[in-house]
């Protein structure tokens, strides 16, 4: 027979898992770009969590633990479905010709983005970054997430997806240029230069 105190704890855990599920699903979808695989990875994560119950000093610690499990489940899903993870026409588009003259010079000089600490402290900036990652073409998005969010190195990514290092680097090159363009358009170009914001002290 389960003691009432334990039951109450289990109910609380169930509620917390339910509350965190949408966030797990968001990152799983960003990584896998496939709703069904993402659902599976999150279900596997929650099942694993229920099988290894631990106590946490709050929602934040629980989330950190769950994200850690999710990352392993996502790598499993990637290995399992790697054959179906391929590039689309959108993944193949080059941004370089839009950025450079045929002689290799910039068409438009890159903007000064200012002091990184300025934007990095802002939650709004994190949201824009997240939206920009979401808008990457499918395969570019997966590879970028594997590199930056799962923190896998080139070798691990190439092995999991059975692609060449050159292919990976070309795709990440495109992903980073797209991300740069998206941030320029939706953050840095969308607000006044930071030097003007400083005011006061000058």
């Amino acid at each position: 027979m389960t003691e009432p105190a334990t039951r109450a704890k289990q109910q609380e855990m169930a509620q917390q898992l339910e509350k965190l599920r949408p966030q797990l699903l968001k990152y799983a979808t960003l990584q896998l770009r496939n709703a069904a695989w993402a659902e599976d990875a999150v279900s596997e994560t929650l099942l694993a969590a229920l099988e290894r119950p631990q106590s946490f000093a709050g929602q934040s610690q629980l989330k950190t633990w769950l994200i850690g499990i999710l990352k392993h489940k996502l790598v499993d899903q990637i290995r399992r479905n790697s054959k179906e993870m391929s590039s689309t026409a959108e993944d193949g588009q080059e941004l370089d010709d839009e950025l450079f003259h045929p002689d290799g010079h910039w068409r438009e000089t890159p903007q000064d983005w200012g002091d990184p600490e300025h934007c990095l402290r802002k939650l709004d900036f994190m949201r824009v970054l997240e939206a920009c990652v979401e808008h990457l073409p499918g395969q570019q998005g997966r590879l970028f997430m594997m590199r930056e969010w799962l923190e896998l190195d080139s070798e691990e990514i190439c092995k999991a997806l059975d692609i060449s290092a050159t292919n990976l680097w070309v795709m990440l090159h495109r992903a980073r240029l797209r991300l740069r363009e998206c941030l320029q358009l939706n953050w840095f170009g969308a607000r006044p230069p930071q030097t003007k914001e400083r005011g006061g002290a000058l």
Binding site: P116, W169, L172
Partner: protein, 63 residues
């Protein structure tokens, strides 16, 4: 690696540097170019900012 790459080639090397360590020759070519170019140092700073941003975002996703 040629000693005097153009901006397009330098951005390619800068981005490649995010994926693997650059060779000595590659590093030298980039550094030489950054001395004489006004645009590419800005691009380099943008890439560095994006690297920090990804890291910050990862931490934010885990909290």
């Amino acid at each position: 690696m040629k000693l005097r790459p153009n901006c397009r080639e330098v951005t390619e090397l800068v981005l490649l540097g995010e994926e693997r360590p650059l060779s000595l020759g590659e590093r030298l070519a980039v550094r030489m170019h950054l001395l004489i170019c006004k645009a590419c140092p800005r691009f380099l700073k943008q890439v560095q900012l994006m690297r920090k941003a990804s890291e910050r975002w990862r931490h934010y996703s885990e909290e």
